[in-house]
């Protein structure tokens, strides 16, 4: 088996940029003045400004995490924390500035919207520039807008839940997001409403040294269902950008929230994201988390199973090519009895790529009859490729059933030979084996995304055979 190391950025087809496409850009660096200016430009209420400034203070005091991936390359003073791309948000694509519209066209967003989405939000730099939701859903009371609009137009619901799942002092990057947040999605699904077709948000960074800090808040009322999908890309620059999102989900009793991410940032983006859900009685929360891009990702979607009978699932796949480090995983906290959870993590490391699975499973003393299974499989494509597993378990209840399995394998000579002996080239054979390896993840995606993901994997294999 010899798949040579190779610069993945060569195959990254989203690496183009639009030049300067903004109406306002804050000066580089972070200060109380910059934060106050963001808040003022958004005409926010006083409580939000206070929230932001407190968070900024916490961010400044909090040390960088000493565990996880290497973050020493981040220069917080060199980053643009707020870039406003357009004066107004478009309700039709024609209302979006031409250059930005062209970019989303190239990314296939309007086409996907026409074909198979119930609502679309497109964020460019710091603001959502386009937004739509199907009329029938709107009539049922479903809210889907950017978080700024959520704060402005639905202040009661917004304030009741905002920052309750992930407080600003949760971690350094949650604090950073809380101070600088802009855009993202606000989703509210009323009691009993099932949004059968996915809502999608797309995040695009264009400027060099950009910091994107979108904020997402999803509230699923009793018995409701929603599937939210996010995708993201950025131009390839020599200087690093920073993406630090916070996503909070509140799943009320018997509701079901599925959150799917296909993260495909360019290889100069630090992707440091905090995602957490609260699941009430018999609610189901699923994180379907795909990480293909970025320079460094640190992301551990978590689920707090607060209500009896709640169920949580984290299904993730990470692909690390040359120079990439995907430090991803899952956290599941069983607080209530009779709760169940499943974690499946699949990672692929290629060239000098590195994947880490970092998991935390906690069961509180009163959470009896808990069932959980954790499975992590790593596939290595090269000699230098690396994979590590850090599974932490903290079980304080007695009658629990916990299964844990971890495997590390290399693309087998025998598998390759078998495929090649049937007339399939080594490159194609490797892509088939890798796609087969992540199949349990891919089959959970809507078909259009499954096809796209398989295509991206094949693209990353192209020309990689030495």
């Amino acid at each position: 088996m010899a798949v040579a190391a190779k610069d993945l950025t060569k195959d990254y087809k989203y690496g183009f940029n639009d030049g300067d496409e903004f109406v306002f850009r804050a000066e580089r660096g972070l200060s109380p003045e910059v934060v106050a200016d963001i808040s003022r430009r958004k005409s926010e209420p006083a409580w939000m400004l206070e929230f932001r400034l407190k968070a900024l203070e916490h961010f400044r005091q909090r040390p960088m995490p000493s565990w996880g991936a290497d973050l020493s390359g981040i220069d917080f003073d060199d980053i643009y924390y707020y870039v406003r791309p357009a004066e107004e948000q478009g309700r039709t694509w024609d209302e979006v500035p031409e250059g930005i519209k062209r970019t989303f066209d190239r990314l296939g967003i309007p086409e996907a919207e026409r074909k198979f989405l119930a609502g679309v939000s497109a964020q460019y730099e710091s603001e959502v520039v386009y937004h739509s939701i199907r009329e029938d859903l709107e009539k049922l009371g479903v809210l889907f807008c950017d978080c700024d609009t959520g704060l402005r137009e639905h202040p009661e619901i917004f304030r009741k839940y905002f920052g309750t799942v992930i407080p600003p002092n949760d971690n350094k990057f949650a604090a950073l997001n809380s101070a600088t947040w802009s855009g993202g999605s606000f989703v509210y699904v009323p009691k009993g409403v099932r949004v059968e077709i996915p809502l999608q948000a797309y995040f695009r960074i264009n400027t060099e040294s950009m910091g994107q800090f979108e904020r997402t808040l999803i509230i699923a009322e009793e018995g409701s269902f929603v599937h939210y999908i996010e995708g993201c890309t950025a131009p390839t620059y020599s200087k690093d950008s920073l993406h630090s999102a916070v996503v909070e989900i509140i799943a009320m009793p018997n509701s079901h929230v599925r959150y799917t991410t296909i993260q495909n940032w360019s290889n100069n983006v630090y992707n440091l994201v905090t995602k957490r859900a609260i699941a009430k009685e018999h609610a189901v929360v699923e994180w379907i988390d795909g990480n293909l891009g970025s320079k460094v990702t640190m992301k551990y979607p978590s689920i707090y199973l607060m209500g009896e009978g709640a169920h949580g699932e984290v299904l993730s796949v990470a692909f690390a090519g040359d120079g990439q480090h995907q430090d991803a995983g899952a956290k599941i906290i069983h607080v209530a009895p009779n709760t169940t959870s499943t974690i499946v993590s699949k990672s692929v490391s290629k060239g000098t790529g590195r994947t880490s699975y970092r998991g935390h499973l906690k069961v509180y003393p009163k959470a009896h009859n808990v069932k959980s299974s954790v499975r992590c499989d790593a596939l290595l494509l090269d000699e230098q490729a690396r994979s590590d597993t850090y599974p932490y378990m903290d079980v304080e209840a007695e009658d629990v059933q916990i299964g844990h399995e971890a495997t590390v394998s290399k693309v087998g000579d025998e598998q390759l030979f078998y495929l090649q002996s049937r007339g399939i080239s080594e490159q194609e054979a490797t892509a088939m084996i890798v796609n087969g390896f992540i199949e349990p993840f891919v089959k959970e995606l809507p078909m259009e995304y499954a096809l796209e993901l398989n295509r991206l994997i094949s693209l990353q294999m192209e020309g990689s055979v030495g």
């Binding site: 598998q415 002996s421 399939i424 796609n435 349990p440």
Partner: protein, 265 residues
């Protein structure tokens, strides 16, 4: 069978030496198979039969250290396995590998495509289904991951299914009969005979007479200690069935234990 008028070889192995991890496995194998002939390759465990199949198909672990393998007058030495397959060679593996996540139907479709033999979707699916029916395979196998949690017999049928769909010019069947009960063996052997029309050459690697009752060999070769020690007609099979390999090994001047222990099979 007579030695008198040897036909022109389509597959020719000459003085082939092969090593695995620096250890010699084949010590000068010579074998010629003319177009459309069926040859049987027998011999004790560890004689090098499987290694010969791998070497012909180009498994990277089997390093050719001497001699020649020619197919249709072209040397195969150094050629990638996929190119050998595209030139019409096929190896049915003794222990086919599972590839989790890759369905049978996708595997076969990719193989046909790799060999430049893609069919329109409808024709392709019909072909696969018809061949599965003939091999008494449940069509549900189409969407199962190839060889993943298959029984030994199911894996062998899967190999013959591929043979039937890919239609190579020369098939090496490595112990396709082992681990099959009488009924399964008949189904598989009939499958081989069905696809064998119009001049497909076959090399059957086997320990047993059973499969050769269904697929009659034109010639029989016996390997031991990494080389061919006897070649002849069907009578060799009867002889082996009756007396075992010992008389042949003695005649070849081989220690009986050494002959069995020379190679990894």
């Amino acid at each position: 069978m007579s030695e008198a008028t040897p036909k022109r070889a389509q597959l020719e192995v000459r003085d082939l030496e092969v090593a695995v991890d620096g250890k010699q496995i084949l010590a000068g194998v010579s074998l010629s198979i003319p177009k459309g002939e069926v040859h049987a390759l027998m011999g004790p465990n560890g004689a090098g039969k499987t290694s010969l199949g791998y070497a012909v198909m180009g498994h990277p672990k089997y390093q050719v250290t001497g001699g020649e393998i020619r197919w249709k007058d072209q040397s195969l030495i150094g050629m990638l396995p996929e190119n050998r397959a595209r030139m019409g060679l096929f190896l049915s593996l003794q222990y086919p590998t599972a590839i989790p996540g890759v369905t049978t139907v996708n595997f076969i479709r990719a193989a046909l495509k790799g060999q430049g033999k893609s069919l329109p979707a409808r024709d392709f699916l019909k072909l696969v289904r018809d061949q599965m029916t003939a091999l008494k395979m449940d069509h549900a196998f189409m969407s199962r991951y190839i060889n993943d949690n298959f029984s030994g017999g199911e894996k062998k049928r899967m190999e013959i299914l591929q043979l039937a769909v890919l239609r190579p010019e020369m098939a090496i069947l490595d112990e396709t009969d082992s681990g099959l009960d009488v009924d399964a063996l008949r189904t598989v052997a009939e499958g081989v005979n069905r696809v064998r029309t119009d001049g497909m050459g076959i090399l059957i690697i086997t320990h047993y007479q059973r499969i050769l009752d269904y697929v009659k060999p034109d010639r029989v070769h016996v390997m031991a200690a990494g080389r061919v020690i006897a070649s002849g007609g069907g009578e060799l099979v009867d002889q082996i069935e009756k007396d075992g390999y010992d008389p042949m090994l003695r005649e070849a001047g081989l220690e009986i234990d050494a002959a069995a222990g020379a190679a990894t099979g």
